[in-house]
């Protein structure tokens, strides 16, 4: 199947899923959630105010009209203003995206680099005591909550030792990268490396058992060359796909880091929105992150095909 037809078919298949996401979010916020007019009107609400707010939000209309309003909001990317701060929702997402990316891109790159390097090293000495103790250690490291790492790390390295600022953010990209993002990135890595390491190790071990590795050994190639050139190139296929598929989860995965270190990113904004019952922000975030997830999955499939021409697009 050629690329164009594949793309068209996949995009067509996304339509019902996307529709489902929209319906799910709509069902949650317009049906399960009860009447938001009471939240908005505050404590001293009189019936007139409530009727007024209900009219403004459009929730006095029939459900199908409300659904249409919601769909129009999604298509035009105009979710109105935040209920808490009156800031336009689109502006919130535009300004909060950069801090999240400044935090997440270094984390993703470092995580991949470290996990792949260590996985190669561990796979080279598979079965030894080093391999097994590292794997056991990664299970333990994974089991401690990110919360504990953040609380302890912030206290010890920022508060007691003063190596990093306790929290904060600036307008300067370089300063953010070299000062404010360092500790959050390191703490995030502590938790995220271990699962990737275990996964990549199995990818590499799968390749080491293949015939071409035996052939390479028979040719007299050094073990390092086999690992770094032959095995890594083949293991890179699932690894790259895995990294790409993890992207959207990363976008929201930094909830805790952003909150603790007062980084004005999307994750922190969502937590604030949940605390303040700021529905427009949560609705917009859910729908757009779902779209991003689907796009990333599609990209992953394409990349998979590009890296490994044996994989047929179906």
């Amino acid at each position: 199947m050629n690329l164009g037809a594949f793309l068209l078919r996949r995009l067509w298949q996304m339509v019902p899923t996307l529709l489902g996401v929209v319906l799910l979010v709509f069902f949650l916020f317009n049906w399960v959630g009860g009447d938001p007019a009471y939240i908005l009107a505050g404590k001293m609400a009189n019936p007139d105010d409530i009727a007024n707010i209900r009219h403004q939000l459009g929730i006095d209309r029939p459900l199908w009209e409300q659904l249409l309003i919601f769909v129009r909001q999604i298509v035009t990317a105009d979710f109105g203003n935040s209920w808490a701060t009156q800031e336009p929702v689109s502006a919130i997402f535009r300004t909060r995206l950069e801090p999240s990316l400044v935090l997440l891109i270094p984390m993703l790159l470092l995580e991949t680099a470290v996990a792949v390097t260590v996985a190669l090293a561990v796979a080279a000495c598979r079965g030894t005591i080093l391999d097994r103790s590292l794997m056991a250690a990664s299970t333990v490291v994974m089991s401690i909550s990110l919360l504990v790492y953040i609380i302890l790390g912030q206290y010890v390295f920022a508060f007691l030792l003063g190596w990093f600022p306790v929290k904060g953010w600036s307008d300067d990209l370089w300063r953010n990268l070299t000062t404010y993002a360092v500790l959050p990135v390191l703490l995030g890595l502590l938790v995220s490396i271990a699962p990737s390491l275990r996964l990549y190790r199995t990818f590499i071990l799968d390749e080491i058992g293949q015939d071409y590795v035996r052939t390479a050994r028979a040719k007299g190639l050094s073990e390092t060359r086999i690992l770094l050139v032959h095995v890594l190139r083949n293991a890179a296929i699932p690894i790259v796909t895995n990294v790409l598929m993890g992207l959207p989860a990363l976008l929201t995965g930094a909830f805790l880091l952003e909150r603790f270190f007062a980084i004005p990113g999307i994750g922190r904004e969502i937590i604030l929105a949940v605390e303040r019952s700021d529905f427009p922000i949560i609705k917009a975030a859910t729908v757009y992150v779902a779209m991003a997830t689907m796009a990333a999955n599609l990209l992953g499939d394409l990349l998979y095909h590009w890296l490994d021409p044996r994989v047929h697009l179906e």
Binding site: I144, P248, V274
Partner: protein, 345 residues
């Protein structure tokens, strides 16, 4: 002809149990998990840690094993305010001094040590109000583990029924459930949980269980569906159908036991995942209500206490959680190895 077999071949579970028994790490982690479950049962029955809200120690009572400077750290808050006048009054008279004296005269018993009857040290220390942290950890374990277990049971049951229907009936039923699966996996897990928590205004243990259970079924669904696809055309199922077994009977009496090894591993994985999610939710204040203690709410309190140098609540809750999650993860690995010896990592 004698049909009964004198020496029946061991079943799947017997074999798995034998393999698990040989796995030393697996048995050790099983022991730890069983220990936690016993503690949870005893706490739920009220035999241990009956009341964590009792203020048995002084404020921030340190743990007993802490050497030295005990009386310095153990000074109760009320006492410091009564004894020392930290503010320099610059010769001004306290305008409320007369009122205060009157109150003191009216309640002579309150002036003496307000912490009377409270212990200066506790086994694992005390929190801001002097609650015993050991009791809190036990109660917190009860909440967190029960939430994880019940939510995992709910999610596994949901995923099993949906996966069974989708895999067994195929066609439009399969399409429908696959669509539902696609929708739920398109939204990142934590974001979905937060969205539901924002919508459901009431907090409570049952609310968290519902949220986690209703969102966490996707992993089980995928695997169970694949199992049913494989099994539905096997001879034993066809034979059951030929003997007149109904669809429901074929699905849940005949096929289900053959997928139980998948279910057990998924259940175990879900418990770990849900415990972690519950801790994050409760930490952020979207989880358990204030009158319930969980590991997440303890970590939330510990965050502020740490700045004052009171590390014991953080250590207690963090360790309790880390030990259980490690043991549960190792047990899951061991279970997977024992139940499916073909898988080799």
């Amino acid at each position: 002809m004698n049909v009964t077999d004198a020496n029946p071949s061991p079943g799947l579970w017997t074999l798995a149990w034998r393999r698990l028994r040989r796995d030393r790490v697996g048995m050790a982690s099983l022991a730890v998990v069983v220990f936690y479950l016993c503690v949870v049962c005893l706490a739920a029955a009220g035999w241990i840690a009956p009341d964590w809200t009792r203020e048995v120690g002084v404020n921030y009572a340190p743990p007993v094993f802490l050497p030295g400077d005990q009386d310095e750290t153990a000074v109760p808050l009320q006492q410091t305010s009564a004894v020392a006048a930290p503010v320099d009054l610059y010769g001004l008279k306290d305008p409320l001094a007369r009122v205060l004296d009157a109150i003191r005269a009216a309640h002579p018993e309150d002036q003496s040590r307000p912490a009377e009857g409270r212990r200066l040290t506790l086994i694992l220390g005390g929190d801001k109000w002097g609650h015993d942290i050991l009791t809190k950890v036990i109660k917190g374990s009860e909440t967190s583990i029960l939430v994880g277990l019940i939510a995992a049971l709910l999610a596994t049951a949901l995923g099993t029924v949906m996966g069974a229907l989708a895999g067994y009936f195929g066609r439009w039923v399969d399409d429908f459930f696959n669509w539902l699966y696609g929708v739920f996996t398109a939204i990142p897990y934590l974001l979905l949980i937060f969205a539901i928590a924002a919508v459901l205004q009431q907090k409570g243990v049952s609310t968290i269980i519902l949220i986690l259970g209703l969102t966490g079924w996707t992993g089980v669904f995928r695997l169970v569906r694949a199992e049913y696809l494989k099994h539905k055309s096997r001879e034993y199922v066809l034979a059951a159908g030929a003997m007149g077994a109904s669809h429901a009977r074929r699905m849940f009496i005949h096929i289900l036991p053959n997928t139980s090894h998948v279910l057990l591993v998924q259940l175990s994985l879900n418990v770990v995942g849900f415990i972690k999610s519950e801790v994050i939710l409760s930490f952020l204040g979207f989880g358990v209500p204030v009158d319930v203690v969980s590991w997440g709410s303890m970590l939330n309190e510990a965050q502020n206490e740490l700045i004052l140098g009171k590390w014991w609540q953080l250590a207690a809750a963090g360790t309790a959680m880390a030990v259980l999650v490690t043991a549960f993860s190792l047990l899951t690995d061991a279970l997977r190895d024992a139940l499916d010896p073909k898988l080799k990592y």
